[in-house]
């Protein structure tokens, strides 16, 4: 009998350093290249606006003046990266967290709709998958509708939802969450149908030889077998539910939320504010995926993953 404790070679410090470089150097290079291209594009796109500005005011200007003007224009076509970053940092740290100009405040508003929508959507997706897996009739009757539901653009549906739910007396958080759930149940439903049907036929037959009840087969076999599929689809679903919550804020004329910031930014030509809100959305999305990823790793370890 062999002991299966494997003695892995411990990483030597300089090797660890090299591994770090090998892992992050390509990413850093890509980021630097993108930032460089961005700066060039910012100069090119803002050039006309800045020059026209000087000419309108009939002040003499040099090429250097225009060049530096493209880097800190108030309403640039394309803000330079440092403008976006400073607007983002200002939005996050420049105000008390619950002030109406604070990005933290707007992020929290969107986040609450996202979280509720995500939970509702994920639960709905799991329930649908259970129904589909347990009944051929339901599979044939539900699946086409589920797929159809995702073919209608949510941007067209959102105002209808808001109006109908508003007439029912629902305002604020819930309509936004429902739109978010409407988008994010789909990957969960599809992923979980695949997950619930993933057990080996032998494992199902074993349960049969023990005359396990359908409920036991679900709890002890289908459900645990579906867990990896669950997390894969939850990662997709969590970003989609954020998109859903933001989209839902657009037609509602919401006063708060990242969607509202985007809307007012584009309304008043505040491109820097627009981009700062986009950065906030991206930060939120990666944070949410990160949380799902951590939960996944904890669960996988408890389920004996390699």
């Amino acid at each position: 009998m062999t002991s299966s404790s494997l003695a892995l070679p411990q990483p030597v410090p300089w090797r660890a350093g090299r591994a770090f470089m090998e892992r992050y150097a390509p990413i850093a290079t890509t980021v630097l290249a993108l930032v460089a291209i961005w700066y060039v594009a910012a100069v090119a796109m803002n050039w006309g606006i800045v020059r026209d500005g000087f000419e309108r005011e009939e002040t003499p200007y040099t090429i250097t003046d225009v060049l530096s003007g493209t880097m800190d224009a108030e309403r640039p076509l394309l803000p330079a990266p440092h403008q976006i970053i400073s607007a983002f940092l200002d939005g996050v740290f420049g105000y008390p967290p619950l002030a109406p100009r604070s990005l933290v405040y707007h992020s929290l508003v969107t986040l609450s709709a996202t979280a509720l929508g995500f939970v509702l959507g994920a639960l709905f997706g799991i329930v649908l998958a259970l129904m589909i897996v347990h009944s051929r009739v339901l599979e044939r009757s539900l699946l086409p509708w589920i797929i159809c539901s995702q073919m209608v653009p949510v941007l067209a549906l959102a105002p209808i939802f808001i109006v109908v739910l508003g007439a029912l007396g629902l305002h604020g958080l819930l309509p936004k969450s429902i739109i978010s759930a409407y988008l994010c149940f789909f990957p969960v439903a599809i992923g979980m149908v695949k997950g619930f049907t993933s057990p080996d036929p032998l494992q199902i037959e074993l349960m049969r030889t023990w005359s396990a009840t359908p409920r036991q087969v679900l709890r002890k076999l289908r459900w645990p077998a579906a867990v990896p599929f669950l997390f894969t689809s939850l990662k997709v679903a969590v970003t989609i539910s954020l998109v859903g919550a933001i989209v839902a804020e657009l037609p509602t004329g919401a006063e708060a939320g990242i969607g509202a910031r985007l809307l007012s930014g584009s309304y008043y030509g505040q491109t820097v504010q627009l981009w700062a809100a986009l950065v906030a959305a991206a930060v939120l999305a990666s944070g949410l995926i990160g949380i799902v990823g951590i939960v996944e790793r904890v669960v996988a370890r408890r389920m004996g993953a390699h």
């Binding site: 009998m1 062999t2 299966s4 080996d200 032998l202 494992q203 037959e205 074993l206 349960m207 049969r208 030889t209 023990w210 005359s211 396990a212 036991q216 002890k220 076999l221 645990p224 077998a225 867990v227 389920m303 004996g304 390699h306």
Partner: protein
């Protein structure tokens, strides 16, 4: 101690079992008029080329498939009732362990399904793990064990709820010969100490002759029994017995039966 044939209870009583599949290419006679009686404590091997219905026969006894005609009683009941009464443990060719469960939890799985108390599950898991020489591996996960060890876990799992009958479908078919020999010896000891009735599907002649009290030779198209051979080697036999003339004589008879039943004109 002489092993006089005392009248024993029949664990499997199959009479004129036939099973026909309807496939796209027409009818396939998987089993044709198969009759077989297995008494308590026997070790019966089914041997034959693939497609001869040996696995189908095992699945019919396990109520995983229903015969087209014939009567079958398992442990004194219909096959379905025997399954519902958890009269048999089934071991497949692949261990089919649940990868998210530790070894101990895998053995406890049928006990959980059957509603054994927690303490009972614990002590049985301990007992059957030691029976297959895997004490100390309770907390390991299946991927940390070799193929042979995994198959031993699946045998412990099949025994854990103490069924009257053990159905084994080529349990060592995927293992290399050295591991296989070793497990054959272990299985023989296990069979003696537990006094279970075992039905064992294989296509290895030495394995069948070494393990069995009776060998059922089957042939395909249609799947039927063409010979039933008694073996009565001493219960404390070791692998060396495979070199004896008696062993070779029985092996020869099995081989002859297999050849007679098989048409090589395809």
């Amino acid at each position: 101690m002489a092993t006089e044939p005392t009248p024993k209870r029949l664990v499997v009583d199959a009479r004129n079992i036939s099973l026909t599949f309807e496939t796209a290419d027409g009818r396939v006679d998987a089993l044709s008029d198969v009759s077989l009686q297995v008494a308590e404590g026997e070790f019966v091997s089914f041997i034959g080329p693939s497609g001869c219905g040996k696995t189908t026969m095992l699945r019919v006894i396990a109520d995983l498939q229903q015969p087209t005609s014939g009567t079958l009683s398992v442990n004194g009941m219909s096959a379905e009732n025997a399954r519902l009464a958890r009269s048999y443990g089934y071991v497949f060719q692949s261990p089919a362990l649940f990868p998210w469960r530790s070894i101990e939890k895998n053995i406890r799985l049928p006990l959980e399904v059957m509603g054994f108390s927690d303490a009972e599950q614990q002590s049985r898991a301990e007992h059957y793990l030691s029976l297959v020489n895997l004490t100390g591996f309770e907390r390991k996960f299946p991927w940390q064990l070799s193929g042979g060890m995994q198959q031993r876990v699946s045998i412990a799992r099949a025994l854990s709820f103490d069924p009257a009958l053990l159905l084994m479908d080529e349990p060592f078919g995927a293992l290399d010969e050295i591991v296989r020999d070793h497990l054959n010896e272990q299985l023989l000891k296990l069979w003696k100490s537990t006094e279970k009735t075992v039905l064992f599907v294989t296509h290895s002649i030495p394995e069948a002759v070494f393990l069995s009290t009776r060998i059922v030779v089957m042939s395909p198209r249609p799947g039927r029994i063409i010979d039933v051979i008694d073996c009565d080697f001493p219960p404390d036999r070791s692998l060396e017995i495979r070199e004896t003339p008696e062993f070779l004589k029985i092996a020869q008879r099995v081989r002859t039966g297999l050849r007679a039943g098989h048409s090589y004109d395809e």
